[in-house]
Symmetry: C2
Subunit: 188 residues, 2 copies
Amino acid sequence: MKVYLAGPEVFLPNAREVLDRKIALTRRYGFTPISPGDLEVPATDTKRSKGVAISSINERLMMSSDMIIANLTPFRGVAADVGTAFELGFMCARGCPAYAFSNTSSSHFDRVARSYDGHVYTDAQNRPRGPDGLAVEDFDMVDNLMLDGGIEARGGAIITREVEAAELFLDHQAFEECLNIAATRFLR
Amino acid sequence: MKVYLAGPEVFLPNAREVLDRKIALTRRYGFTPISPGDLEVPATDTKRSKGVAISSINERLMMSSDMIIANLTPFRGVAADVGTAFELGFMCARGCPAYAFSNTSSSHFDRVARSYDGHVYTDAQNRPRGPDGLAVEDFDMVDNLMLDGGIEARGGAIITREVEAAELFLDHQAFEECLNIAATRFLR
């Protein structure tokens, strides 16, 4: 069973090392790891065509995978990496089991409220909103409801853990818990 | 031809009005609009089950759609709304034509560099990175390469326009341009 390892680890200075650790852990639980960056990017003329080539490789890797484990740890702001969100949606549409983890235990609501310095009010329909008027989703979820909902609908799970800042993208315990749950479901 | 209208407009204080304008424009170009919030959410016991119910409705609406137009205007930070990114990935996996727009003309690279106050350096592999060591994608793209790449691979387009801040989620010109391009391709 092939597992696509989605997440913003690709942006880390030591990406190769971190991805290799995730790949090794995935094998240890009995799955075949499929990781972005596993195929060589062909030479291209422009920056944009290089980006398109990488996207095409990652889509092919996803098409060859049976399951996804997505790292939804907030990236450059209050929410998950949008590339990872795209990939999670992609694998959900393919009907694949979907798992995710986040190395913070704060909910989507908590993080957005904090980004508004706690200035969240309730409108006439009892819906929480920021000072800019934008609604704040309050569904006891890790991130936007499409992400949590997509995972739940496919029998998956989202594991959260509070990890110290320096280890935010390096701690693999929550990831490993996803592997363990999926292995119990599919391999044991 | 049914078009799923993805975007963070659902969070606006005047969401219904804005969505109704997008629905009317979509009809004017000859498409059938499919918009999140078009179906009634059943009563649920918990916050979380309500979120899951909305996700399920939106997935069903996407499964009934033939195309997506996604609003990738940056939402609460440097990147697109993650729910919209999930939906774009979902429709790309279904092989549907995908279009998008953003009401800012700044590239992903420009926005991330600005979030680092311009402190972007180039590493030994000539890859731009922020002071936190995280790589900054530099592919002349509107957002993360999975989003731009997924749209391009399906023959779509991303339209960008610089819109004044107060109109960021209210200006429909770039959205209308997507409708026009798609109508030329599929309906004329």
